[in-house]
Amino acid sequence: MGPTERIIAVFKGKEIDRVQTYCASFEEWTVQQVLSKPFITTKSLFFNPVSRLILDKWGKKISKMVLQPSVDSALMKRLEAAVALGFDSTVLNYEWRLMILDSKKVARVTGSIYDIQHDGHGNVFFYYHGPALASPEAFEAWSDFPNPDDIAHGCYKFYKKAMAQYGEKICIIGDTCTGLHEIILLAVGFEKMLWWIRKKADFIKKLISLGDEISMKTTMAAMDAGIKVVLHADDFSHKTGPILNPKITDELFGDSYARITKAVHDRNGISAIHSCGDNTKLFDYFIKWGFDGGHAFENTSNVDIAYEKKTHGDRFTIIGGMGVDYLLTSRSKPEEVVDGVKHLIRTCAHGGRFILGPVNAHSEEDVSKIKVMIDATKEYGRYPITV
């Protein structure tokens, strides 16, 4: 079996030779520790007087020409790093949403604004600043909504290249960056999202419909390029539980996701969802919408991974579970990482439908601890499980 067939087998509840590993992608600093530091840092590209002048004057105009190739290249490096570390599978985002506004800000073309900041290691990252569509008028005036067919075309080319280079070495899980809930949350803002949903339902439906079309087209484009497992990243919850009432969540997003997962299944693909936080009250809906598994199971949230394995483990694959708050940082000891891996294997591995990996990516991940995690999974994750 190749890497993708192995991951698909796990989703189908097969205990293959051992527990598989998943990479939740990386931040730039982690990639550079695995591969090498670039000659010119992104911080020096963004944070210098000449660049500032250019970006302030022509940022938006040169955005597509400059930003998209750089983002594509950075994402491919993340894939390369995941392969180099020996992961069995990795998410690969196709990030099409970014647009430079000026030297201090970028936007997502779906209507949200981000500050350009640096991570202390020479890399820039984009920090959510606030909504750009805080009124229906702003929605009508927003001239930057993308053409879904153009994005799908770019998506196809991106994954085609990734599959050609690394498809035999690792299971590439496609994430086309189209979280339907997240688009709304970020475009209208956290504080008044509920007000928008209650009072401006048509406006919200328009936004969902836009996300729905892009999501379907890009997902199909990724599958055209050879991707078999897709992940929809859409943070529905906080550590305390769902952000929205689960029934409202279902009414707003259920049909769209059910359509998308059906289209994936019709092509013999696998559909998973990434949602941070405690999704305990949402797992039944995720399954109803057709998702075969889910990623995060954040240890810092109130989700009980053992309970979820017992409750939904015969239908829903658990992906993740390893904390990036402590275990995968420099603060932990290697033996604690091994213990964490053993605990997850003991709790979740029986009956397949478990892929072990970090709950998220963040810039302070310690590469040596990631290696310990992968090695320990290979050592203690052999079926039949004996730990």
């Binding site: 550590k239 949230s301 708050d325 402590y326």
Partner: protein
């Protein structure tokens, strides 16, 4: 309770952003003092929101939205409050640690504490430890609440603890942490006194800390 105050409570529980100012003005027109509107109307409304959140009837979106409704009401009341009439349980300094600009969770905590009779000194987001030490010295507050959403900014908690120790204040204050990336064990690791898993718990936590400080 007076009908008008019940209307204020209802507007908050119904998340009625549009009508909150009208019902608050009605209270003032009826001669209800601002401190009573805050204590009984807004405080009572936020208590009900908190109860519904804890019982699972309300979710995070409702909790956040209720804060927005209260925010809409406050400008009408701020200059009319006779502070001597408001029960003051104690001062609490709130801040999101340095490097982290998230403020929504902290603001809900601030709203809950204010509504429960605490005096809140809100230092905002991305706050350096020196500013917190200074605020303790200036205000005499004995409780600090630190909010952290990003895992990468966890170190900010320890920096506050260390800065308070250096200033000789650590033994005089109690510190509680909360936010997406926090958990019980982290509180131990960082050397703070309490951890809150959600904003609604903040009232009980600080009431408890004030008893032991």
């Amino acid at each position: 309770m007076k009908e008008a105050l019940l209307d204020v409570q209802k507007a908050i529980v119904d998340l009625n952003y549009e009508d909150i100012q009208t019902v608050v003005r009605k209270c003032l027109d009826e001669g209800i003092p601002a401190w009573e509107i805050i204590k009984e109307g807004i405080g009572g409304g936020m208590k009900q929101v908190g109860d519904r959140f804890e019982s699972g009837e309300f979710f995070l979106a409702e909790l956040i939205m209720s804060g927005e409704v209260v925010k809409e009401a406050m400008p009408i009341l701020e200059n009319k409050v006779d502070t001597a009439k408001i029960q003051n349980k104690g001062k609490v300094i709130l801040a999101t640690v340095k490097g982290d600009i998230h403020y929504i969770g902290k603001n809900i905590v601030a709203m809950m504490l204010s509504a429960a009779g605490f005096e809140v000194i809100d230092l905002g987001a991305d706050v350096h430890e020196e500013k917190i030490v200074q605020a303790v010295k200036d205000s005499g507050a004995v409780c600090i609440g630190l909010s952290v959403l990003l895992t990468t900014t966890i170190g900010g908690i320890k920096d506050v603890v260390d800065a308070l120790s250096e200033a000789g204040l650590r033994d005089k204050v109690k510190i509680a942490i909360g936010g997406a990336c926090t958990y019980e064990k982290l509180a131990e690791e960082m050397g703070v006194d309490a951890y809150g898993s959600d904003a609604v718990q903040a009232v009980k936590i600080f009431e408890g800390l004030l008893e032991v400080v």
